[in-house]
Symmetry: C2
Subunit: 452 residues, 2 copies
Amino acid sequence: MACAVCPNEIAKSPMKFQSPKGTRDFYPAEMAVRRRIEGAWRDASIAFGYDEIDGPTFEHLELYTAKSGEGIVNELFSFRRAGGSDDYALRPEFTPTLARMAAARAAQLPMPVKWFAIPNFFRAERPQRGRLREFYQWNVDLLGAEGPAIDAEIIGVAIAALARLGLRATDVRVKISHRVAAANVVRALGVADESIAGAFELLDRRDKMAPEEFTKRAAALGLAGDALARFETVVRTRVQITDDIGVLATTAGIAVDSLAELVLLRDALVAAGLSDWCEFDLGIVRGLAYYTGTVFEIHEASGGERAIAGGGRYDGLVELFGGPKTPAIGFGMGDVVLGLVLADRGLLPADGTELLPRPDAFVIATADPAADAELPRLVARLRGEGLHVRHSYKATRNVGKLLADASKQRARFAVLLGAELADGRVMLKDLASGEQRPVALTELPALLRAPA
Amino acid sequence: MACAVCPNEIAKSPMKFQSPKGTRDFYPAEMAVRRRIEGAWRDASIAFGYDEIDGPTFEHLELYTAKSGEGIVNELFSFRRAGGSDDYALRPEFTPTLARMAAARAAQLPMPVKWFAIPNFFRAERPQRGRLREFYQWNVDLLGAEGPAIDAEIIGVAIAALARLGLRATDVRVKISHRVAAANVVRALGVADESIAGAFELLDRRDKMAPEEFTKRAAALGLAGDALARFETVVRTRVQITDDIGVLATTAGIAVDSLAELVLLRDALVAAGLSDWCEFDLGIVRGLAYYTGTVFEIHEASGGERAIAGGGRYDGLVELFGGPKTPAIGFGMGDVVLGLVLADRGLLPADGTELLPRPDAFVIATADPAADAELPRLVARLRGEGLHVRHSYKATRNVGKLLADASKQRARFAVLLGAELADGRVMLKDLASGEQRPVALTELPALLRAPA
């Protein structure tokens, strides 16, 4: 097709284009769902006193290779600028950016720093249920303070957002472990200090390998026979907050003192009113290399989906990026698995358009001669006052059809411009009750703004 | 540094990392400014009845090469997935995504489609004032309807957002041209039909070349001597909405009918109350190849910055992406130049933290024995009610210092937990007036929620 006024000849045949594999087009209904989830994340963050931040969508590749969490490096989308020499990668997670930002302003930032962000992230892996190549994720981090009350606060923010979305403690489980307690357990079972990291790695990957492979690797770490059996028991035991943590110690055959971190955390969770939502699960490892203390994941209660959220304490990371030694804890919660869980529980409308903002008024010009001239003026004036105002783009004068359009677009009121305009008045029709009455043009903004 | 409980040895020397050139770190103050701008964009969009959409952050490279606007193809960040065969590019603009999305659902979408989006975009060009490698941009598009009233509506949305941010008609100019009217002018000046596109391209690039170069190229297109002088005059003449468009025709030595599109547009702009903000300027071309009718740019009034916004009618684009022939108009408004203009006009606070949400309450445990136990419970309960609640992370019991912290964090109220707890009461202190009084714990949420 050649255009009379365009400088370029453009291709003749229409091409079929699709969004890249593992990415999403957000039409209004899908976007409304995304905004609803983001709104709950934002409201929970603000209630807990967190300030929003963001970073670049791509970073220097070295920012991700620095902490050498291998699982992530292989999944990066990386690139260079044509003619440039710097390697960049689309952000696969937020913590490196956050640690870099905290390190860069460590001297000025009043501690504790409480930040949240709702960025998009990118993973070059195979798309599957709950896992896309581009997704949105809420990140909440608290830097510069430590202790069980802080860890409980962070867990509390995550729970607050889930509660705002309609989920209850029976719908999800916050599964909590602690790297120090877990290290004490494996050490007590006979794993040498230098093999503890290997034991965590094995634990994290146990569902991805055959049982014989697992047994073989466990033996190489010093876990065999009775020790391996006790290890298996411990990592499969879920301890409710009201349970006696001593039972877990007995199961593992270790001193209760080894699990002191869990006891402190339990008391903080109880004080913050979170007991119902949480349980201890030493099988939770979190793959990322940088966690140092409390780690947790939030799962749908039946365990049928991937983790809804995951996080933990990473006290070494800000220092790694050039800042001072800074205690830190945080988590990420993605939109994809959460969306699946909410839909499964009937907590999202079947049609997301129900979540779109409702028009305050739908303005209709009747056949009256003055109506056509007044319509654009009135619409512009009402919108200038901040009201959400729509009108028809059809040529029809059929008021019945136009009122049907108004209802279809979920307008609260129809405003009919007709013979009353001569007296400076219009007809105001409440589309829920069907009542209509003449009102002065000057009163209109206040009437449209009144709560339903 | 080696961590006792982590699986990986991590690098010893702290590294200095920076955000990539031409990208930004948004600390809370900067993020609050970005959210303020985005809020004005969103509110204006909704007032005008537009629904929010979004697309992937990267698209197939072919989506951008398809319409062969050369200026943009050279500025793309493009990449492949390791082991993959598809070429992708970070989105440099939104229109191709929008046209693709509209084409994909053309059969189901009720027309007109009114969509807005606030995505980030990427340009691999040299960063300079007003121009970054990653920026945020508001896009507003109306598809499936045409005519001057539609064009005026789109221009009205852009102006509504600027007005919400505090800008007035004296601060900015909406400079409007029309490709049909402009084509009529250059044709009347002697440019052959096949050279009209070349004349637009020359006009768009005239500030980027030496005057001799411009004169030489103009002559090649058939513009020399008196015709060139008239061309220069026409593209430098700014016609106010209240001016007689006939004067421009006389200047160009062409029939007023040639500018009929501008006359219709003027009437629609007047009806929508936009006259003060707009002017006609046939020097506005917009580089992009796909515009077919009205084109416009919004500039700071003195012309000292790059364009705040730009857009126009692109009736051929949805068809290009496989949809039916669909009239369409839209614009983009970036956050970078707009931010500079707002700051220059004093319309942004010197410190963006003033824009952050204010805490409803700052809870303080006094030395009373019951206070420490009650604090986490009360804080959790108030946050559960949706209130924005903070407390100190310091060990201090100095109530004066803690009240100073509460004020510094801009809390509306301080809630002091002390001896009154025995009666189920706390002290509520209004931090603006300094007044304080005992209130029942049960009353607290309602009192904190009351408007200031």
